[in-house]
Amino acid sequence: MTRLPILKMVLAVIVFGTVQSVILLQFNWFGDEASTAAKPIDTLLDVTIIISSFIFAIVCVALGYALIKWRAKPGDESDGLPIHGNTRLEIIWTIIPVIIVLGLAGYSWAVLDDIEKTDSNALHINAYAQQFAWTFGYPEDGNKWSEGELHVPVDRQVIFDLQAQDVIHSFWVPEWRIKKDAVPGLETEVIVTPDKEGTYSLICAELCGLGHTTMRATVVVESEAKYKAWLNKQTTQVPEDILKTTNQYEADQLKKEEQSGGIEGSGVIEQ
């Protein structure tokens, strides 16, 4: 019996994995980057792609090698070697994946913390989702409202407070890499710092019924001055449909807070 040519296989894995990683990294998988969260997430993805390429290479090389080496000749009725296992090997292929996986988890955690850090001067914008449209409220800049179009200043952190009026929707701007569901009866938030001016699409990413496919809004990232100018032109009139469900919810919230002692500012619709 020949010794296992481990070296040959390792070499094959290295070549296969490297080639695959290099090819895969040529592509800009996630598309354009337009927020500060995009860079760390994309790097995380690249690292993951490299590691995955090598894992995939190991599996392919091992399978291919075995097939080439130990494929039975036609008519060969004999059996293989009665090997039942090898404790050392089994320990190795338990421990190494544990290490890889925990490493990646730790890295992901760090990235998560990084992209969810909040600034004290963050701009708060309310985003209301309902079948099948988006409405935005700007409580910090004179209670302005806009429908179907969102404007934000560049290079300043924005925190979107999401509210759903009927069913679950999801707030997603692919170039920002950030997604969060808007859930009826719950306030969720999206933290993002846009760092590139331009026009993007806000996509509803959670199935919400007939019009889910077309539930989009335009996102404009622009300089602070332009943003202010645009905002001045917007209305202070609260859009009708929003009031309906929200008020009811608000009333409940208020009652709850009254009963539990302190009343806090509702923060949802300042009027």
């Binding site: 009652k255 709850k256 009963q259």
Partner: protein, 208 residues
């Protein structure tokens, strides 16, 4: 093989010997293990509703629980609890009786258990009628009626099983060997489960 003649119309020829006896590879009886596993899945079904209970009460954090104006009849439910708990003892008595080949005791135990269970169900339905709110009244109404109703449905199924056991007991079935009184033991296990589940439901819904 010789199977052909057996399959078609229940025609049994002389060579027929049926399937070989299966090897018994665990000490536990199949039916008992079956009912225990079934109870495990029932526990998980209750678990789903208790999860909902947790979300509605703790996570959604309503202003008061139960909502203002709702007074649960704890006393009556408490009495009802005692009734159901005592029925666990009577069914145990019935099982012990038949293990000692005491058919009178078996019948007595089974009948009492059945009556106690039916009383429980009757009081529960009565409570529903007079409780003053409906399943439509807020999340509390939903979870109250779902948990107690789910349990009530289990009592009903338990009663059905007990009915069968009663019929068979009065027809003189059952004997001291385990295989001869599985028809009492299995409904008994189920009944104990229904009983314990009630205590948990009672504590969750009425007490805490």
């Amino acid at each position: 093989m010789e199977s052909a003649s057996i399959a078609a119309h229940g025609h049994v020829d002389d060579h027929h010997h049926g399937p070989p006896e299966a090897h018994q590879s665990a000490r536990i009886d199949r039916t008992i293990l079956g009912i225990l596993l079934f109870i495990l899945s029932e526990v998980m079904l209750f678990g789903a509703f208790f999860a909902a209970y947790f979300f509605l009460r703790v996570v959604a954090d309503p202003a008061s629980w139960p909502p203002e104006g709702i007074e649960l009849p704890v006393l009556i439910a408490g009495i009802n609890t005692c009734i159901l708990v005592s029925s666990s003892f009577t069914i145990h008595y019935a099982l012990e009786a038949i293990k000692h080949n005491n058919h009178r005791g078996l019948k007595l135990g089974l009948t009492t258990t059945w009556l106690l269970g039916a009383t429980f169900l009757f009081i529960q339905i009565n409570e529903y009628i007079h409780i003053g709110f409906t399943p439509r009244d807020g999340a509390f109404g939903s979870i109250f009626f779902s948990l107690t109703g789910l349990h009530g449905a289990h009592v009903f199924v338990g009663l059905l099983l007990l009915t069968f056991a009663n019929i068979r007991a009065y027809r003189g079935h059952f004997g001291p060997e385990q295989k001869d009184h599985l028809g009492v033991e299995v409904p008994g296990i189920y009944w104990h489960f229904v009983d314990i589940m009630w205590i948990i439901v009672f504590l969750a819904v009425y007490i805490i």
